[in-house]
C-alpha cells in the first residue's frame, strides 16, 4: 500500500501549520488537525505494529474510535507517556513521540504534570453527537427549552459550530438522567475534563460504525473499512492507496467509490456480495502488506487481482452502547442486518435518532455477508483452515477460536466472549461484536437476534485513571481537617497522626528526641508538672429540650436525667445489637440542656445516631441535637500544677476543690473570652478542659504556653494521652473495642442501668452475651518489665503447644506502652474470662519469640484516684 498526501482536500487539517512528530524514532511531519493515523498514512507509513499473539504485521483499519489495530504508545511533549492509544483518535502536536507496540502498553509516568478536572452540568436536553440528526434534535429542543439548557456534545474537534461542545465523548448513561462524559483540552492548560451531566431528556445521535467481513488473511495492512478510506481522503487529504478493491454488501460504498475516483485512486475491482461475489483471501508482500486480492464469483474459479488497498463494508452497526447501558433493549433489524434500539423501561426519556436508530444513509439493499469460508490452502494450515480468519484483530481472535468455544459447549454469547476474549479489546468489540454473534448463530443454527450481543459495559471509550481522579490528587485526594491551633503545632515540630480526616499531633519531639523519649517526657510532665493538649477534635453536641434527660437515658446505658445542673458524667452508648458504639463525658448545662462530647472519630456518626432515633423512633420527644464540635476549641490542662496555670488565664474563677469539684463545669472568662471550663480528667491527674469559641483557640493556647512557661508547661500529643489513660485503665472506643465488645466486657457493667430501657439493652440478654468465656478487658504486665508487647499480639496459655496449629487463643493485646509512672512496660488486653484470670500468667507468641505476661486488673496507676484533685499529701 502506498498512501500519500493529496494536493488538496481535507477539511480537518490546516495545511498552513506544519507539525513535527516522531514515529519509532523517525522524524515526520503532518498538518495541524491530523490524527496520528492520518499523518502516518500521509507519510506512506501503514505498518504500525505487530499483533499481540501471532505477531502479524498490522495497519490502520479505521478512522475513529472503533480502531482495533493501530494501537500506539505516545509520549507527550510534557514527557508524560500514555501506554496505549488508538492512532486514529489522537491529534498530533509538535514534539509528540509515537511508538508502535504489540498489543500491550507500558506504564512509565510516575510524576504526572498533566492537569485533569471535573465539572457538573444540568440541562433540559442532552444531545450526544452533533451530526445532522443530532443538530436537528438540538434545534427542535431549543424551541421548548432555553438555549443554554440544551447541551450538545460531540466527540470530534470543533466543526459543528459554537452551540456544540467539541472533543467531548459520552462515557456512560446512568440512573436518573446522569451521564458522564470526557472532554479533551477544555482549556489550553487543562488536559481533560470529566463531565457529570444531569439531563431531563437525552438524545443519542452517536451514528453508526461500519463493520468488516471476515475472510482469510483479512488482517493485512492495507485492508480498511470502506468509509474510513473515504474519510482519510475527505477529512485529511490523504490517499490511502493507489490500486483499490472494494468489497461490499450494501450501497454505502457507491459514494466511497466516487470519492476514491476523484482522488485518483484506481478501483481495480468491486466485489459485491449482492452479486454473489466475495473476497476469499488476500496476498501479501514481504512485509505482509496487502499486494493482491483473491476473488470468487458464485461457481467461478478464484481470480487474483493486484491491489494495495482493500476497502471492506460488511454493513453498519448503529452505535447503541449508550442506549443499551441505559437499559434499552435491542432488536435485530433484518433490513440492515444489525441491532437497533427497541424498547426501554421507565426513567428519563431517552431516544436514539439518525444512524444510531438504524437510519443508515445510502445503505440501499443489503445482503448480509459475515464470513467467507476458506478456500484451498488459505491459512496455510490445512488441519484448521480457519486460523487466519481474524474476527477481533485487537485480540488476534479468529473463527477457529470461535469454533473452539462453541465446540466446548459454550453456547451463550457471553461465554463465547469470555472464552475467545473477542470484544474485550480497546475498541470494545465495535468491529467484531455483531460479526461474532452472526457467525455463532450460523454455527448454532439460530437467528442472530436470538443469539444477541454481549452486555455493553461503560465506559464507551477508555478513560485514564488520572482523568477519573480529576482534582482529587495529592493533598486534595481527601480533605485534611485541622484545628485552629494547628499552625502552632506545625511551628513547634509536632509529629502528626491521621485520625479520620483530622491531623492530630501525636507527640512533640524536642531536638533529636525519639518518639519514645518524647512520649515519656510528655507523660512525666502531665503526672508531675503540667501539660496541655489540643482536644478540639472531640465531638460536641448540644442536646436541648424538656425531654433531653429522658432522651439521653434511652441513648446512654447509664442515667443522665438525674445529673445535676453544673455536673458532668461519663456515659457509654451501645448500638441496638448491644455492642459499645461510643463514649464521652456529657454535662448538664441547664434543666433542659446538655453538652455531649463524643470520640473524635465518631462525632458525625453519633449525631446521625441521635437524629435517627429522634426523628424515626421518638418524634414525640421534645429534644433537638446540634453539632457544636467546631464552635468550641478545647484545650486540656493536665497535671498537679494545672490549677496554677488555669488560675492565671481565668482569674475570676474559684478553682478550689470545694468550689469547683471533680466532674463539674463552670462558665468563665478565659483569657478575656467567655467560655466554659470542665473539670474532667482522662489521665487521673488534676485536669481542666477549657472551651472557648474556635476563633480564640490559638490565642488561648499561646496564653497557656506563656503563663505556664515558669511551671515548665509541656504540650503533649495523642500518644502520651493514650499512655496516661491506659495507666488508668480507660478504654479507647475502637481500640479496646472492635464492634463485638459489650460494656460488661469492658468491666463497665456498673454503668449499665437495670432500671430503664436503653438502645441495645435487650441484646445484652442474648445467650452469647452471657458466655463465661467472653473476652474481658484486663491489664497485662510482662514478666520482663522492659519487654514491650506489640499491640495486636495474641495470648495463649502457658502450656500451649505452639508447634501444633491451630493454637487456641485466649485474647489479644489492645494497647501497649512504656510507662514512666509505673517505671515499666504494661498493656491492656481483651482476654477470655479475663476477670477470673487475674494473677494468672500467659504467653504472647511473637515472630521473635514469646513474651510471658501476668494478667492483672486494668487499672494500674492510682487505683484509689487520689491524684485527681492534685498532688496528694505524701
Amino acid at each position: 500500500m502506498t498512501a500519500s498526501r493529496l494536493a488538496a482536500s481535507g477539511d480537518r487539517i490546516d495545511r498552513s501549520r506544519l507539525v513535527r512528530f516522531e514515529f519509532d524514532g523517525g522524524s515526520l511531519t503532518g498538518f495541524a488537525g491530523d490524527t496520528i493515523a492520518s499523518a502516518l498514512l500521509a507519510n506512506g507509513i501503514d505498518l504500525v505494529g505487530r499483533s499481540i499473539y501471532h505477531a502479524r504485521p498490522r495497519g490502520i483499519v479505521s478512522a475513529g474510535p472503533e480502531e482495533p489495530n493501530a494501537l500506539v504508545r505516545v509520549v507527550w511533549p510534557s514527557g508524560v507517556s500514555e501506554p496505549m492509544l488508538r492512532a486514529t483518535t489522537v491529534p498530533i502536536e509538535d514534539g509528540l513521540r509515537v511508538a508502535s507496540l504489540a498489543g500491550r502498553g507500558r506504564l512509565e509516568t510516575t510524576t504526572d504534570p498533566g492537569r485533569f478536572d471535573a465539572a457538573n452540568r444540568h440541562c433540559e436536553v442532552l444531545v450526544i453527537g452533533a451530526g445532522a440528526s443530532g443538530l436537528a434534535a438540538a434545534e427542535a429542543a431549543r424551541d421548548a427549552a432555553p438555549a443554554d439548557r440544551v447541551f450538545v456534545i460531540d466527540a470530534q474537534p470543533a466543526l459543528a459550530g459554537p452551540e456544540v461542545q467539541p472533543d467531548t465523548t459520552a462515557l456512560g448513561i446512568y440512573d436518573h438522567g446522569y451521564v458522564t462524559a470526557v472532554q479533551r483540552h477544555p482549556t489550553p492548560t487543562t488536559d481533560g475534563r470529566l463531565w457529570h451531566i444531569r439531563a431531563k431528556r437525552i438524545v443519542i445521535a452517536t451514528g453508526a460504525t461500519e463493520r468488516p467481513i471476515v475472510f482469510a488473511n483479512d488482517d493485512r495492512p492495507g485492508i480498511m473499512l470502506a468509509g474510513a478510506g473515504a474519510t482519510y481522503i475527505e477529512r485529511y487529504g490523504v490517499r490511502p492507496g493507489e490500486r483499490a478493491v472494494i468489497f461490499t454488501t450494501n450501497g454505502t460504498t457507491d459514494a466511497v467509490a466516487a470519492t476514491l475516483g476523484a482522488a485518483g485512486v484506481e478501483i481495480v475491482a468491486t466485489v459485491d456480495a449482492r452479486a454473489g461475489e466475495a473476497v476469499v483471501d488476500t496476498l501479501g508482500d514481504d512485509a505482509g502488506r496487502i499486494s493482491g486480492v483473491v476473488i470468487t464469483s458464485e461457481g467461478a474459479a478464484p481470480t487474483t487481482v493486484e491491489a494495495d488497498l482493500l476497502l471492506v463494508s460488511g454493513g453498519w452497526n448503529p452505535n447503541v452502547a449508550l442506549w443499551a447501558q441505559a437499559r434499552g433493549t435491542l432488536r435485530f433489524d433484518e433490513r440492515i442486518a444489525a441491532f437497533v434500539p427497541d424498547g426501554r423501561g421507565p426513567g428519563v426519556p431517552i431516544e436514539a435518532v439518525g444512524a444510531a436508530a438504524g437510519e443508515i444513509e445510502g445503505i440501499g439493499e443489503l445482503r448480509p455477508l459475515w464470513v467467507v469460508p476458506p478456500h484451498g490452502e488459505s491459512g496455510g494450515d490445512t488441519s484448521d483452515p480457519w486460523i487466519r480468519h481474524y474476527v477481533d484483530l485487537g485480540r488476534d481472535a479468529t473463527v477457529s477460536d470461535l469454533r473452539r468455544a462453541l465446540g466446548a459447549g459454550l453456547t451463550s454469547i457471553e461465554h463465547v466472549k469470555r472464552y475467545t476474549t473477542i470484544g474485550t479489546g480497546i475498541d470494545q468489540g465495535r468491529t467484531s461484536g455483531v460479526v461474532t454473534s452472526a457467525i455463532a448463530a450460523a454455527i448454532l443454527g439460530q437467528e442472530v437476534g436470538a443469539v444477541g450481543v454481549p452486555t455493553f459495559r461503560p465506559p464507551t471509550v477508555p478513560v485514564s485513571f488520572a482523568q477519573l481522579a480529576a482534582r482529587d490528587r495529592g493533598a486534595l485526594a481527601d480533605p485534611i481537617r485541622t484545628t485552629p491551633i494547628h499552625p502552632w503545632h506545625v511551628a513547634n515540630g509536632a509529629v502528626f497522626e491521621d485520625v479520620g480526616q483530622w491531623k492530630r499531633p501525636r507527640h512533640f519531639p524536642q531536638a533529636d528526641e525519639s518518639m519514645e523519649e518524647a512520649v515519656l517526657r510528655e507523660c512525666v510532665a502531665a503526672r508531675s508538672g503540667v501539660a496541655v493538649m489540643d482536644a478540639t477534635t472531640l465531638g460536641k453536641i448540644d442536646v436541648q429540650g424538656p425531654d433531653a434527660g429522658v432522651f439521653l437515658d434511652r441513648v446512654y446505658t447509664n442515667t443522665f436525667s438525674t445529673l445535676k445542673v453544673g455536673s458532668c458524667r461519663y456515659g457509654l452508648m451501645c448500638r441496638a445489637d448491644g455492642m459499645v458504639f461510643d463514649d464521652g463525658v456529657t454535662s448538664r448545662l441547664a434543666e433542659d440542656r446538655y453538652h455531649m462530647t463524643t470520640t473524635t472519630g465518631n462525632a458525625a456518626a453519633v449525631l446521625d445516631h441521635l437524629e435517627e432515633w429522634l426523628q424515626t423512633e421518638w418524634p414525640d420527644l421534645r429534644v433537638r441535637a446540634t453539632s457544636v464540635t467546631e464552635q468550641w476549641a478545647t484545650i486540656a490542662v493536665v497535671g498537679p500544677h494545672a490549677r496554677d496555670v488555669v488560675a492565671r488565664v481565668a482569674p475570676g474563677l474559684d478553682l478550689s476543690t470545694e468550689a469547683f469539684g471533680f466532674m463539674t463545669w463552670r462558665d468563665a472568662v478565659i483569657a478575656g473570652v467567655v467560655g466554659r471550663v470542665f473539670r474532667i480528667s482522662f489521665s487521673g491527674e488534676l485536669a481542666y478542659e477549657l472551651n472557648v469559641p474556635t476563633w480564640h483557640g490559638l490565642a488561648l493556647w499561646k496564653a497557656l504556653i506563656a503563663v505556664g512557661e515558669p511551671l515548665g508547661i509541656t504540650p503533649y500529643g495523642t500518644e502520651a494521652m493514650h499512655v496516661l489513660r491506659a495507666e488508668k485503665g480507660y478504654p479507647i472506643i475502637g481500640q479496646e473495642t472492635d464492634g463485638t465488645t459489650t460494656p460488661q466486657d469492658l468491666g463497665m457493667g456498673g454503668l449499665v442501668s437495670t432500671k430503664k430501657d436503653f438502645i441495645g439493652r435487650r441484646s445484652h440478654r442474648r445467650p452469647d452475651a452471657a458466655r463465661a468465656d467472653r473476652k474481658q478487658l484486663v491489664g497485662l504486665l510482662p514478666t520482663d518489665p522492659t519487654a514491650l508487647l506489640p499491640e495486636g499480639a495474641q495470648l495463649v496459655s502457658l502450656d500451649a503447644d505452639l508447634a501444633t496449629t491451630p493454637v487456641p487463643m485466649l485474647g489479644h493485646v489492645t494497647s501497649s506502652y512504656r510507662s514512666a509512672a509505673l517505671g515499666r512496660t504494661f498493656a491492656l488486653a481483651l482476654v477470655k474470662g479475663g476477670r477470673d484470670r487475674l494473677g494468672e500468667r500467659a504467653l504472647a507468641p511473637l515472630v521473635t519469640g514469646t513474651v510471658e505476661v501476668e494478667i492483672t486488673g486494668s487499672v494500674l496507676f492510682d487505683p484509689e484516684s487520689r491524684r485527681r484533685d492534685g498532688e496528694p499529701p505524701a
Partner: protein
C-alpha cells in the same frame, strides 16, 4: 449516581445522603417482653425484594431529615 428525592430540598445527588435500609421497622414497644427470635426479627431480618420496596434515606449533607421513599431495586426508579 442516583438522584434522590429529598422531600424538603428536592432531588439531590446520592453523595449527599446516607442510606437507611428498609423503612417501617419500628423499635419494639417492650423489648424485654420479646423472645430472642422476636428480637432478632427486629435487629437483623429485613425484606430484600427485587422490585419496588420502601426504604429510608437521610439527607446528611442537606437538611439532615430522614424520609421514606419507594424505589425499584432492579431499575433504581423512585416511585414516590
Amino acid at each position: 449516581m442516583l438522584l434522590v428525592p429529598c422531600p424538603w430540598c428536592g432531588p439531590r445527588a446520592e453523595i449527599e445522603f446516607r442510606y437507611g435500609g428498609q423503612a417501617g421497622i419500628a423499635y419494639p414497644k417492650d423489648p424485654d417482653g420479646l423472645t430472642d427470635a422476636e428480637w432478632v426479627e427486629y435487629l437483623f431480618l429485613r425484606d430484600n425484594p427485587k422490585g419496588p420496596w420502601r426504604e429510608r434515606w437521610v439527607h446528611t449533607a442537606g437538611c439532615r431529615r430522614w424520609f421514606d421513599v419507594t424505589r425499584d431495586t432492579l431499575t433504581n426508579e423512585f416511585l414516590g
